[in-house]
Structures are given as structure tokens and as C-alpha cells.
Symmetry: C2
Subunit: 385 residues, 2 copies
């Protein structure tokens, strides 16, 4: 198993890109990543995307994007695991390079959710839940998360206002990220006054949809030119795990078992623990998911995720900086692209290119990308050598 490094990154702004197609968005990110890597080609392309077939009437995205960016002849596949499709594409690229089959792979996550011919995005997103027993009963993803959040508040005694710091931190950090969808800081007052979506989840608990693409170039560590002055970013840990697709099948609905499993494996591979992680780009699709992710990954005791946030430990200066470039909440959540945005943002942190939200001396970065209601979770650890 060859060790692998990330040598190039590219991304578009997350926005309503009504003038850009799926291939134009993905193409911009891929070509930027290749340029950043000082390469003009790759042998393989892995595309993370969830809604192309339904929202954009375009599947077969491997070929579609490889063709567009001029990677003629290259191997190219589309990988889907709902909202963790981005990390899944990254992991597929990692497998290909570490197996020895491919020497230069590009992973790109892309999603175009606004201005689509379908435009029933909430219903399309619900195809990641159980069609027979969840979506078919009218449960959307915000409804599923509202059930979890209400139960969590009941079990552990938290009030809605205790989740405010997650949202405030994300928006404060996004101000410094030119690729983020939102650049307006929010206050506790605006958090509390936001319109209700599905009680107790209001608009400020929920991440926005958007259009965007993010990409990374992976090569074997042994082929790296170590004399070009750039820090070497090594993929130190990568693991994936699943849980039941429907939340009603779980013995414990408030524990992200797939996060625990994948984080534990990734820690073991990287030889680190939560205490060594300098930046944690987690999957704050809803504030409740940020809390659950912190707990299952070993950063907080069960039921105590909000405590870290209330203590100010999740900011770039805190003990566990999260959503340092805005997170899903404020950078935006173009679902199949999100996992690749997390990777790109980690690389920025480890290269000390994160500007106003740089975590001082960041050396170990972790990303966790969640598909469905915690049912498919990938954890990736990158280390600056």
C-alpha cells in the first residue's frame, strides 16, 4: 500500500451559479487543482456528486467531466454516497493511487442545486433516506434532523439557544473565505430570531444548498518533488463506515456509530488521537450534527458537544477549531461537493494559506463527511510532514 500525498487543490465559490453548468463548475475546480499541482493531466478522475441525474438530467459524470477538461482516455467514475459523495470520491482516488494502479488521480466533488430543471431539491435529497420507510412517509432531511435534535435536547437538557455558537462560529469564519456562500457574521439575537424550518431546527441551524465544485490531486508520496519548497501534505488516515440507513433501526439514535468507527480507524492509521487534531472540518449540515460528530469522534463526552462550543473552544483559537472556513453552515453545502471542500480547506490550513482564520501551526487536520442521517461517514486525516 503506497503512501499518498495531496499536491494540488482547486475550488469555485459556493453560490447560485445560474450561468455555469455542472461541467463548467467541475472543470474550473479540476483545472485549478491541476494547475496548483503544476500538472497538465491525470490518469484517473473520480467525481463525487449526488443529484446530477435528477436535478441536472446528467449522469455518467466521470466521462462527462473528463471529456470537458481534456483528460481524454483517462479512467473516470462517478461515486455517490449522498452528502458524503465528495469524501467518497477522494477515498476512491486514494485507493487507486495507493494500489499502484494509478499515479496521478484527481478527485472532484460537484453539485448544482439551484436553477435546476427538477427543482424539487428537498424531495431529491430525501432519496438518501429510506425510500420505503422514511422518505415515503414524508420525512425530509430537516425533519429527520429535527427529530434527532429534539430527542437530544430532551435527553441532555440543552436548550435551543445553546446551539447558537456553532452557527455564529461558522458565519464568523466564512467572512474570511472568498469561496464561502455567506460573508455576513451573525449574532445570538439573529440566530434566535431566525424563521423556524422544522422545530427545533430554524434557518440558522440549517446549512444552505448551493452550486459549487472542489478538487484535489493525489500522487504517491514517493514520487513527490520535496525540493520545491512547499509543505508535503500526506494522507495519514482514511476510513469509511456505514450505519443503518433509517434512524428508526438504530439502538441509539443519538450516537453516530459510523463516525466513531471511521474516526477510530483513521486515528489508528495516522497514529494520532483527538488531542492531536489541530483542525476538524466536520459535517455541520445542522447544528445537531456538529454536536453529534464532536462526540462520536472523541472530542467531547456523550451529550456534551454544545459545551465545547459554549466554552469558545471551536473557534480558530480554541482547542478544537471546526468549520474554520465557514463549514457547511456558511461556506455552504452543495451536497456532493462538500466532502471535497473540506479536503481543500484542510490543505489550506496545513499549508498556512487560511488567511484570517488560520489555525496557528496547524499540522494535523481531520475531515468528516456524513451521508444520510449519519448512515455513511468517511473520516480523513491529513498531516503536514
Amino acid at each position: 500500500m503506497r503512501e499518498v500525498a495531496v499536491i494540488g487543490i482547486g475550488q469555485t465559490k459556493v453560490d447560485e451559479h445560474w450561468d455555469l453548468s455542472l461541467r463548467e463548475l467541475a472543470g474550473m475546480a479540476v483545472l485549478d487543482a491541476l494547475a496548483d499541482a503544476h500538472l497538465d493531466g491525470a490518469q484517473a478522475l473520480y467525481v463525487g456528486n449526488m443529484l446530477g441525474g435528477s436535478a441536472n438530467s446528467q449522469q455518467h459524470l466521470g466521462t462527462y467531466i473528463a471529456d470537458w477538461v481534456g483528460l481524454r482516455g483517462a479512467e473516470a467514475l462517478h461515486i455517490e454516497s449522498a452528502c458524503s459523495s465528495g469524501a467518497a470520491a477522494f477515498r476512491s482516488a486514494l485507493m487507486a493511487v495507493s494500489s499502484g494502479a494509478v499515479d496521478v488521480a484527481v478527485a472532484v466533488g460537484v453539485e448544482k442545486m439551484t436553477d435546476s430543471p427538477g427543482n424539487e431539491i428537498t424531495g431529491e435529497l430525501a432519496t438518501a433516506a429510506d425510500a420505503d420507510y422514511e422518505a415515503g412517509m414524508g420525512l425530509s432531511f430537516v425533519a429527520l434532523n429535527a427529530l434527532l435534535m429534539r430527542r437530544y435536547m430532551h435527553e441532555y437538557g440543552w436548550k435551543h439557544e445553546h446551539f447558537a455558537p456553532f452557527s455564529i462560529n461558522a458565519h464568523a469564519n466564512a467572512v474570511h473565505n472568498p469561496c464561502a456562500r455567506f460573508h455576513e457574521p451573525i449574532t445570538e439575537k439573529s440566530y434566535l430570531r431566525a424563521p423556524m424550518v422544522a422545530e427545533p431546527i430554524n434557518l440558522m441551524d440549517a446549512s444552505p444548498i448551493g452550486d459549487g465544485a472542489a478538487a484535489a490531486v493525489l500522487v504517491p508520496l514517493e514520487r513527490l518533488n520535496r525540493n520545491n519548497g512547499r509543505p508535503v501534505i500526506r494522507v495519514a488516515g482514511s476510513a469509511a463506515a456505514t450505519d443503518t440507513i433509517a434512524i428508526h433501526s438504530r439502538r441509539d439514535g443519538l450516537w453516530l456509530r459510523a463516525a466513531e468507527l471511521s474516526a477510530r480507524q483513521a486515528y489508528a492509521q495516522a497514529g494520532v488521537g483527538p488531542q492531536d487534531v489541530d483542525v476538524f472540518e466536520l459535517h455541520d449540515a445542522f447544528t445537531i450534527m456538529a454536536a453529534l460528530s464532536l462526540e462520536a469522534s472523541g472530542f467531547a463526552e456523550r451529550g456534551q458537544g454544545p459545551r465545547l462550543a459554549l466554552d469558545g473552544e471551536i473557534t480558530p483559537e480554541g482547542k478544537v477549531p471546526i468549520a474554520t472556513r465557514g463549514g457547511l453552515k456558511a461556506r455552504g453545502h452543495p451536497v456532493g461537493a462538500t466532502g471535497m471542500y473540506q479536503i481543500v480547506e484542510l490543505v489550506q490550513q496545513l499549508r498556512c494559506e487560511a488567511g484570517g482564520t488560520q489555525v496557528p501551526g496547524a499540522r494535523v487536520g481531520m475531515a468528516q463527511n456524513i451521508g444520510g442521517s449519519g448512515s455513511n461517514i468517511l473520516t480523513t486525516i491529513l498531516v503536514r510532514e
Copy 2:
């Protein structure tokens, strides 16, 4: 890079399975493959599927199926490359095992195309073509293949009747395959009299849609128990290549460049050439594709694919046996499952379990799975040791 073996196979009949859901179909194939391998679990599941999101309102098929078959916690992803999604899932499993990250992987292809809520299958299949410049102009896949077939007949002087042996061979072989959709042999007369779909493609040139699933279990060769009396089936070659997504972008529309590229790589890996291949399960979605695939993979000269068929060389007793279990034409073409049916059928041949269409002494088998109009092609070579 570890060598990999296929130690278990499973499949359902291709049919209109109105009483079985996507997960039931996939589950049957996965559990049969695990039982055939004498295993009760796996670390990773790779699901090839094209139309789940649109035809079945169900995405996130990795988790959905892993959960159903009891692979709780396992890594699980959905892979899509249009009609070559099945082979793409197999290749993803191969990468995972050969990289050393996974010791037991299951690849399953599954598709449920009949009795679906969407039921605009022709339109949904067209999402594998270029949405802007092909599908958006009204070109369906049969129309795209009709353009290719007409041009091919014009260039090389073949008549429609010269394609009859492809269809006759497929239907004759399917009679002996209990999992095939059709069990009725056809004659040249019935071929010629079949209703026209898109001139010159008539109903007997085109493969039928269907519901079905096929699966295989992959493990490292080094972990194999060689004393259980069963032949060892090694993955000797695996390669993937793309071409332009739209046929109008190709310099030469009658040459499957991605078939040539992937076959050439797979031959090199396996240390064999076309002359060594005992069985070739090719992608006869349309008779024209069978001809083009034979040519680009080195079995016939350019423009001479139909000659092999007319000379009787494509039957199980011929020089290049194809569609030995019925092929796409008569076993059926549940699109995302087809590539895995090909793998299962090759393993049957190499294990000498192919009954009435057993190719005597088959040792080297090749499968070629095509996504789009020849735009994403995977070639796999299996060898009995």
C-alpha cells in the same frame, strides 16, 4: 499491489420483478455470492447502479444495501458510469482489495427498470449521453446507436441481415441459462421480421431492459484456501478508459477508442492477447456494439466484426465465443447490473459450470462493459489458475 481472486458469485434471474425491490434484488445476489464464497460477512460493498435515483427514488445504495444484507458498519459506496456501472463497481472492489485497505469486498450490480414510479426509462437512460448536445436534442440511446449502425453499413457495405447471427447466437445460448430473461431461440426470419425501433435497429438488434442483480466476492490471492478443490479464479487484468461523451466529438465514430485502450492495458497486465481469450463476454446492447467491440478489442479487422459472426465463430464452439450465457440481448440488460452479470458468467465458464453453453477448457475469460455510446469502457480479464 496485491493479486486478487474471485471466490464467490451470485445472481438473480433477469426479469420483470414487480414483487422485489432494489434492495431485495441486490440482497439476494450479495447473500448468494457470500454463501458461494463460504463467508458470512465482508468489509466493503461496492454497488453498481445507474437509475436508482430517478427510477426508484432511492440513492445512497451503498448504505441501503449494506444495511439490508446485515453488513453493519461495513464501508459501502455506490458507483456509476451509466451502463458500465457494474464493471466499475467490480473495479472499485478490486482497487480496495489490491491496495491492502480491504480483505473481503463484495461488488454488486443492481437495476430495477420495470414497474418503477418514474417509468420514463428511455429518457432516464439518455442522462448517460450529453444532456446539452445529445439528449437535449431528442437523441435517445437507440437513436445514437442507429446513427452509428447506418454509418457502419454505409462505410463497410454490410446489410442489415448480416447482423442476424449476433442476435441468433445470443438467444440460442440463453436457452441454457436459467437466469436469462428470454429462453426462446430465434431464427433469421424472425430477426428480419422484427418491428423497427430506429432504423436500421429493429427489436432483435436491441437488448431488453429488465430487473436484476449480480454479485461477486473478491479477496487477496494470498489468503486463498487452495486446498478446497475449487479452481482459483484470478483477476489477471483490469483497465478502464473513457472517450468523448458525445459521438459528434469523435474523429472516428466507428472506432471504440476506449475499448482499444482498456483492452490493450488489460492484455498487457494479464500477459495475453486476443488469441488467448477463450470466452469474451462483450457488451451487445445493440448488434452494432458487438461488432465494434470485437474490432476495437483485436478480434476482428476494422469493419469486419460481422464476418466473425457470419462464419459461425462467435458460438460456444467457435474461435471467439461471445454472449455465451445470452449476452445483453437475451440474458437481458438491467443496465447497472450488466457488468456484474458478465463477471458472474465468466466465472461460471472458468469453473466449468456453464452447462449447455460451456466453452470446452475455458481458462482465459474477458468481459467488456460499455457505458454511454462507447464513452466509458472497462475491460476485465479473469484466468483460471
